[in-house]
Symmetry: D3
Subunit: 246 residues, 6 copies
């Protein structure tokens, strides 16, 4: 069964990572996964969040948003509705946790890094693209602190990237685009490190369920895709990549 | 390494399911997993949500709350803060998805079942206890509709229950209590059906990651625990259990 | 005219007070007045509210909530609506004032006691049951502070309890259940102390009015009921009761 | 003990009722009780509230506000805080109930009358002044409907007015001004009709309690004051007064 | 073409400024421009806003509101809606900027003056009436500070007042009343000082546009009107007027 | 006095307009004015707003947002704060009015066009860039409707664009960048049509005022700049430009 955009089942969409996309931010990236485009910025605040005050360590947190017309039909702004929706909360918590898993928060010191992931065009996989892009923005921001002498090294222990896999009409597919995602029976988001360890595994049946064998095959698919994404991160970072996890 | 409450690594806490706990609700359960106590009610509304209007099918949705002093120190009410927090959104979406996976929404017809899971005492595992308890409340509410002649059968295709597993100081543990949960490096919530299929797998490293082997072992642990929870659901439901998935 | 549940006009519903209902709270009670069931917890915070900072005295405040399905048809959560309703505000202010009337706030010292009254099943009289139950939870919490050596005595000057009376089809009734309450022409909530003094008298005509004679008779009815409720509080508290108002 | 403004214990402050104060409203009044000044408007909406749709009757509801500098120190606007406070809710519910007690809602027909009571200068007793003034605005609005032929008579069954009484250093006082109110041990608001029946009795101990004898004496004081207020309403309404309760 | 109220095109409505309208406020004014009536109060807070802390200067800020029935049909309260609307924000920012333009914020010292402009009856031109009235309230409040010895002089550098002009069916009109304003093609609000300098010029086409010549003529009209308003301010202030801008 | 970026006082920053920037929207533009970058999308909804229902005409409305790190230091999201700020309201009302001034709303028919202007990088002049860019997105969306046969012509009567001018240390400057804007004494935003008519003139003294001569010179500067912006719009639109205002 051919995919809607002609890809093989185990094929990622073209990925493009553009660094230094926003001049004000300490780190900023435009990540494009096919037609999904997300601006990821990393902003450094020179104090930790309240709950870590005086603990001698820092924090990495994320916020996520979508422009109203990033989607096929216009979505009302969360600012206009006066509240952040459940899906947004879920995604920003996921992004934050994923990146904290590879940051040495003690080495980061008493500061907060805010990762803002704003989808300007959506075509499925916005949360996984956000994680993959935000990692690069985060490294750039930390490298900037190192350049200023505020850090002696980049306190990142490994690469981290994410992709989705799903089951659609019984077949398993890597990196779902929107059309695929919206009719998938099972949807799985995987976050992995450069050394092949899991940070998050979120498999969800949408009015459906899945077997253990299917789960194993989906994880295999995802692992391959994430390896390629981490390769793209390394290419984008150039020589800075060699300072990660050292 | 002995557990804080003396359990074996693969041992569930005592589970108790009390049906018909609230007289007004079509289905209602008090579920106790050790010291975690959750009131689950199922309320039937004789119309579908707006987005399903005229689609000839129904919906199952969930809300989750916690009494302010369900926890060790008092938590501010979400009503007083004026907004529902991200964690609550995440949990109520999980409960809703988990139960929809075993409901035949077309057979349910144009109605909505609201599952309210309110934690009156928390000691870890409140979201998984909510799923396990809400399933029983849902079956009771649907059986009530059948009793009124509004449904010809209980439109539930399988049992569903949930538990948590985690890695703590390197060891893997089933059904974490609060003390264990708060220092676990890895936390996994699993939702499975009576026939052993997955509905949700959510594994999360807290500033940590985990290997594929660990994931497999955690899933094995969870599957055992869920079997025992489904046994408890069947005992609680008595003969009604035989009408599920028939 | 017989009452809907067969009671005499001057008869309370069966009252049951279960102490230590929630393991985390300094004081906690499940109070049942017939089918009305309220969990009352008392939580001690070791600082006064802002407006009393440095005044050398403490504060007692209350919050009130209702589970969505405590009522005959499901009520939307105040957290989901994003605001606390007028009725809730009215009730929590009443509970707080009622208990402060019998607490020596100076002897309490610079701390705050939060009373949370959460209705898990409603059948009329939830605000008066909340006051009656919260009193016991409060005493337990203060006794706990005494046990820790933080207070030299329980700074409570008298017992306090509450009940409702009403006029229904011209007859006067004590302790209205929901069916009675919803068709009463006049509704009165009375809060009294163990020594027979009034703390609150709130009589309200619902599109109706009442004479002075009726008011006097309603107060007589309420006074009898409150005496019996205070007896139930004393029984529940056992020997601790003897330390009140000493 | 002389009062702060030289009044006798049983003496009202000067009352002044100015009708037709706002040109747009169907009924509008400026009521002055000493230095307390409240603008009361009655606005007619030609449909009932949702919960009365199709019931063949109308509704009277009230909202209450205070200008930021109506008080001795500036109070933050509720609009700026983004929510209506508990005290405001309590007051507007009281005003609404008080007026509904003397309106024949069936004769009013399927319409809503909104009473807006806005305090432009506060010196105690704003809620009771609001009730007393809103009554006159309501009668004017209903007379306006009668003048337009939309009502055959003014569907008001009796006069209604309100005042406060309190206990201050043991003495009982009528119509408390702000200085008296803020140090009163007991505060009672009474709403009575022209025929001497009670609509609301709200007696409250502020960290204090009161005896039955005190309550009776306070009610006597209030009743005298309310008679004089109803006299003032009649004078203000002129010949329209004769159409009330006929 | 005669105006709806018989005025000449270049004629202001009658203006009346009543000082000391609210007894609690340091400065307070009732300004009436025809049927538009606004209560303006100036409240002094003895600390600067957060963003000026330690800067050695003060701030002047404004809030604006409208009673629900100030308008022809009842408007819902912003407090009840839970948020301040865009129009209100626009107006209160305009009032604040207009008055800051004539205040020496350094001479004011580390304090905040809050100007509250509350429309009790609206008939067009409420924002310009607010500016004109608030100026007088501000001067009174600052004169009060001077009287207390907290300021050595009134730190106001010039008079400031405002009016509207508009194009209606091609003709240019000064000081639009509501009927004129709501059908004007072009609406311009001008804020000018006593020495004829501009503080704000806001010209807006409502689904229309205007030529440069029209703009010049509208400004000429406005300048005349503002001169007369400043004359009214001087009359109201009496001898205090001579201390402005000295 | 040379400008911070070396421009002449009457020189615009480089302007670049990229059409079809977001694939989902009926019209979409990335506009760059120097380092200010705004995504403008036009979304067509096939129904008018409520207040125009059944009036036989349409509406054009705008919303405005800024990514958190569009600015030099991170700005909190309005969604996270739970409300839209005053500045945002002001800007989105300005954009909407500006575009409605050149749209024939009757010819548009019963539909709504939503213009979303989201600043991804800010360096002053975001509101004027939004207007200039949104115009092109609007034309594209209307041309799209024409292409679908839903409109017989593009119902736009003229071009419209906007720029800012300001007084800085006494000198007058066109198209202020952020550094200039933040220290300008006077700030003026002008919206003009292709035929040289004004749609909006908003001149504001920031704790300052300006003379009539200065205003005239600022308008001259702005008019030149707007001519050049409209030239850029025409270049971007290509042959579609010839269908405007025909």
């Amino acid at each position: 069964m051919p995919r809607v955009d002609g890809r093989q089942p185990d094929q990622l969409r073209p990925v493009r990572i553009t660094r230094n996309y926003i001049k004000h931010a300490e780190g900023s990236v435009l990540i494009e996964m096919g037609d999904t485009r997300v601006i990821c910025t990393a902003s450094v605040e020179e104090k930790p969040p309240l709950f870590l005050k005086g603990e001698g360590k820092g924090w990495v947190t994320a916020e996520y948003g979508m422009l109203p017309r990033a989607t096929g039909t216009r979505t009302q702004r969360e600012a206009a509705r006066g509240k952040v929706g459940g899906r947004t909360f879920e995604i920003q918590r996921l992004i934050g946790r994923s990146l904290r898993a590879v940051v040495d928060l003690t080495a980061l010191g008493e500061r907060t890094v805010w990762l803002d992931c704003d989808v300007i065009q959506a075509d499925g996989g916005t949360r996984t693209a956000s994680i993959t892009g935000a990692f690069v923005a985060l490294v750039d921001a930390l490298n900037h602190l190192k350049g200023q002498g505020l850090l002696s090294r980049i306190p990142v222990t490994d690469f981290v990237a994410a992709t989705s896999v799903g089951r659609l009409k019984g077949g398993l597919l890597l990196d779902l685009c929107y059309v695929e995602d919206s009719s998938a029976e099972v949807d799985m988001n995987i976050v992995m490190t450069g050394s092949g360890r899991f940070v998050e595994v979120q498999g969800t049946g949408e009015e459906a369920s899945f077997t253990r064998q299917e789960m194993n095959m989906m994880i295999d698919l995802a692992a391959q895709g994430i390896n390629r994404l981490i390769f793209a991160q390394k290419e984008a970072l150039g020589e800075i990549a060699s300072f990660i996890g050292g």
